[in-house]
């Protein structure tokens, strides 16, 4: 019954993964001296931008985003404005959280904020796309019986994977191996991205295998 939706989800995720890949490869071709470790922040921004643009476009095209109640331009604009605001607030939230987790407060604030931007574009942006700027709904989605559609379940999985990935990414930092990827925030952003990619694969697969047990309340 959900074959159609799962297929749509899988192709969306394929496009997203491809965009991450392109965001890594294309600048390497065009920008001299570009590398994931060396110009890490540049890479981070390129990935964030790619994921942002592609998710917004794809979810808008697919029509996953809940339909607006009013169709006036002013309402749409205010919605857009609120989304942008939430995006920015979420960056600040992640920044604070990362600092609380032990990132240096002043020294590498730019790096920390870049990581926050990446995390936001991998998690919050998706919430914005799927649920709209509605924090109540966001909180509701992350409960056991909170998912109301396949996309909600998918959202749960990808967000959890991304956050856990970033968390695990912090583990190698104290080790004394002196590798380039142990520099702040390389391992965390890589962890978050790997978590995200895992989530992209895991979500359709999990839904596919559990489709018999999944029941949703009316949307």
């Amino acid at each position: 019954m959900w074959d159609h939706e799962i297929r749509a989800m899988a192709s969306t995720h394929a496009i997203l993964a491809a965009s991450v890949f392109m965001a890594t490869v294309l600048p390497a071709v065009f920008v001299p001296g570009f590398s994931v470790y060396g110009t890490h922040l540049l890479w981070l921004y390129s990935v964030s931008a790619a994921v942002t643009v592609v998710s917004v476009a794809v979810f808008w095209l697919l029509g996953v985003t809940p339909p607006t109640k009013k169709h006036t331009l002013g309402y749409k604009l205010s919605r857009l404005f609120r989304s942008c605001l939430y995006f920015f607030l979420s960056c600040l939230f992640f920044h604070t959280l990362v600092v609380l987790y032990g990132a240096p407060l002043i020294e590498s604030a730019l790096e920390t904020f870049s990581l926050a931007v990446l995390l936001t574009s991998l998690t919050t942006l998706r919430c914005l796309c799927v649920l709209g700027p509605n924090i109540q709904a966001w909180i509701r989605v992350f409960s056991r019986h909170g998912a109301m559609s396949v996309w909600d379940t998918c959202l749960q999985i990808t967000v959890a994977c991304t956050v856990v990935g970033a968390w695990v990414g912090a583990f190698p930092i104290p080790l004394d191996w002196d590798r380039p990827w142990q520099v702040w925030p390389v391992s965390c952003s890589l962890g978050a991205l790997f978590g995200f990619l895992t989530g992209l694969i895991a979500a359709p697969a999990w839904i596919h295998y559990h489709r018999k047990h999944l029941t949703y309340k009316c949307k």
């Binding site: 609380l100 032990g102 509701r140 992350f142 409960s143 104290p174």
Partner: protein, 1092 residues
Amino acid sequence: MKGSPVLSLLLLCICSLYFVGLYLFMGGFLLVRLEVNRTSTCGDVLQPGQEPVDFCHTRPRFRRAVLIIIDALKIDFAQFDSSNLAPRPYENKLPVVEEITSSRPLHSRLYPFHADPPTTTMQRIKGFTTGSLPTFVDVGNNFASSAILEDNLIHQLGQIGKRVVFMGDDTWESLFPKKFYRCLPFPSFNVKDLHTVDNGILQNLYSTMTGNDWDVLVAHFLGVDHCGHRFGPDHPAMADKLTQMDGVIRSVIDRLQNDTLLVVMGDHGMTDTGDHGGESLKETDAALFLYSPVPLFPGPPSQDEPDIVPQTDLVPSLALLLGIPIPYSSVGQVLLPLFPPHDQAEVAPTGPSQLEALWINAKQVNRFLETYSSMAKDIPPPRLSQLKAEFARLSSEYLATVGAGRSPSPQLTASMQAYLTSVRETCRATWARFNPLKMAAGLVILAFACLMCYVLSELSFVLIRENARRLKAPAVVALAVGVCVAVGQLLTHGYIEVAWCLAAAALSAELLFFWSVYRTRTVHVAKNGSKPPKWTNWLTRRRLLIPPILVAFLRCASLLSDSYVIAEGRVVTFLLLSLVVYTPVHLNWDGLLLPPSYDPLKSAGLLPSPALSPSFVRKESSTLLACVGLLVGSLYLSLSFHGCREEQGYCQPSPFLTPLSRLQDSQMKNLHYALSVVSLGVWTYLLRHCLRHYGNLNSSGGAVFTARWILPLLSTCLGLHWAVSATPEDSFRNLGEMIKLAQLLLPRAAFCLLALGLFLICLDPLTVFIKTRATASARNSSLPLPRYRASTGISPQAELHHLIPQIYQRMRRSLDDNEPSVGSEVDNRPAVEAYGLGTVYSAPLLLFCGLLTLGMLLLHPEGMALSFLLLLLEMGALLHIHASATTLRGLQSTYSGGFNVPWAPIVMWSLAATQFFHATGHLPTFPSIQWSAAFVGFPDGHTGTAVPASLVTLNTFASHILFAVSCPLLLFWPLVCEARGSRGGRAAGDEGEDAVMEMRLRENPQQFSSALLQLSTRYLFILGAQVFASVSAAAILRRHLMVWKVFAPKLIFEALGFVLSSVSVVIGVTLVLRVDVAVARWFKRLIPDSSR
């Protein structure tokens, strides 16, 4: 309470099992040796009867010596095999050794040089300068610094006026501070740096040698060792390094003069991976190459050459060749081929002959043995007397030979050598060997003890119900086995080794316990047919794979990596923070954080119970979130109180760690003082406020007296003490005497107050104030009789059941309008009001911890008051999070009836203990111990060691002790916070369901004791798992580069922390049981009183 003796006995048993495991492991891993603090002198008489010869004034064989230490120069590296056509990178790279030994056999020799474990550089340097067998813990009086205080070559050389020039590894500088004529140390810490030390030496070595202001030159090259650690021996870089060393040896030989001896040696070998530290042959066999431009040996290599030279033998040989006394605690024997035989002594240049050298050596060793055995008792007495008798025999024989002028028999030489060898072997067996059997036994016992804790925590209810019948057998058998082993040892060996008796007892107890658990399980299964009882599935995956356990596991795993141990403070904070953030996320996942939104269609028939009122849930959730915020904030702030390890080069220790008296800037000083005093005040206020809030400050018992008077007095004392100790010595010259007196008296007064307070709490822990309404009933005789009388005669239990809630209800109500309104309510309420009954258990515990904290704060630097305030806030936040989470969970699921404390708060509690160990400026390293704690109240020092040791221990493990003692609060707090709920929404409709808070525990004594048992065993399980991880780290990584620097100190701190924590857990539980006894007595007194 039912089963309370069982409870305390059980906890004691578990603790002793852990202790036995730790004791065994430590006995096998940490070898302890006493340092003999005496030095040899030139006046050591050679032979009795003759005129005293000043040994140092005879002309020595060599005037100068060059000592080249190539770190980790394995014997394989130095040997040359011309038939090997395809050498590995480390083979045949030192051809100079072979060239010289074959071309000038009288001048040089290459020996395998056997190092004693632990084969770490620092221990080895100690070994080949003192001639002794250093262990990890050499108990001397220099625990804080690493300088060698034992007699050693460098000291003796300095005594006689030789100019010792040192260059190379900076370890030497810390071992021999100010002992060198000239010292050129280079940093040795960075293992990845292959060249700094070596190049530094090479820039200075040759110029120094050609110059004339040196007598002994020590050069310690580190490149080979670092190359091994970084690349392993089988790597081209090793070939380069060894070739470089070959060049060095050649150049040094070219510059040698005739009066100079050259010694090239490795301090230890390396394994195939390039590491060292252990006792395998590859690690212990280094190379020793001796050379001199004049003939050094009486003949070419012959049959009676030693196959292998123990490292200790270098010391007496060098000493006698250079004409200095052999260091006092050396146990080496002279290298005989270096000395002329007796008949050639006249031909040979100078210095003692073989027999003389042996005699001097034997006398020195015997003298050391006598001194050592009078200090320490670790050498087995039969062996000792045997050695002494042997020396007496040799001595008389030698004196007779010399006195008669006979030429000595070869047997005498041989038996002297045998004597020296046997002394060294005896010492080595005592000091320098890991005992793998003991280590393994310790590990097994610890692992089983952990498992036992887990099983007990799962079975607590069954055990308490059965009154622990099942546990008597293991205890009895354990005793029996222990005694049997002791008797067996006595019969076979003649003496008892306590460690093995304890091990046998502990192991048998544990195994029997598991067997009896297993058996009862099968019996239960058989009885109930196919349906196993509920607790049989306690090892299912789902119950173990929960995030709190995962976090605890990560914490244990982090103890296995040196980087994580170095960064432990941050690691623990990270994990604790993760778990704290996880709590609301998990609640939300279960849909419990937000008030459920009711679907009007669905729940039309069902009326939501009043407990689920959205406003109440919202209130609980916001409390929870606020506490999470508070906790996260205080965690973040607490990071700024950390100290720094020497490995963390970039780190700056917290400014709050410097005592006020050392601050120069007076404005800064005032600011710090004000901050500390304010936080102390806030701290005291918060504690008192909490007690007053729950009505525990009304009665007139001992505990209340403590809370009312001793607590504020203690903090005043503390504030004054800080002020006094911060005043600079010279500022108030006329008040100097008084300041001195105050520095002595204030802390002592505080100690006395603390002791008095703790004693009063234990003596009279009840904080309940009873107000009988006798006056009211006198005024209004129509008042109905108290309701509980109705149940008199049925059973006291039933009486209690009715009495308590009503008492408590009254109490709350009177508290609410802040004055007990006598007679204002004319209803059928009982005529007794009891203030503070709801927190009767937690109040004394809280007070106890509060006093203890103040006492420990006294031992810390003043700035730590802020950190202790954070500790209080964090404890409170943790308790409230736990309470709110429990309430939220309890609201929407059926009440389970037990008081189980889930894993998450317990893991958080244990993590917080470690976290505050770091946040009070402590680190698991010896240099970071805050020794100044020993002088609080004793500014002029101590006479004994017990008082300063306990003060320093209390200072170091303050947070472990506090968190462990207050552990039962985790059980009480959800009940204490129940009151909030009752006022909020729950009890609004139904008066019958009163908030009874901790009286709920009294109503279910069985569940109370089982919950207490479960809580303490769970806490002990988490602590035990940590200590087990630390022990395993030390066992597995015993040849790691960092073992003596990181893992062994960590193990000692972890073990000590565990011992103190477990004892504190027992103290906390005992206090709760004491309160329970007092409460029972109180009820007994109350009921006959009122019913009459």
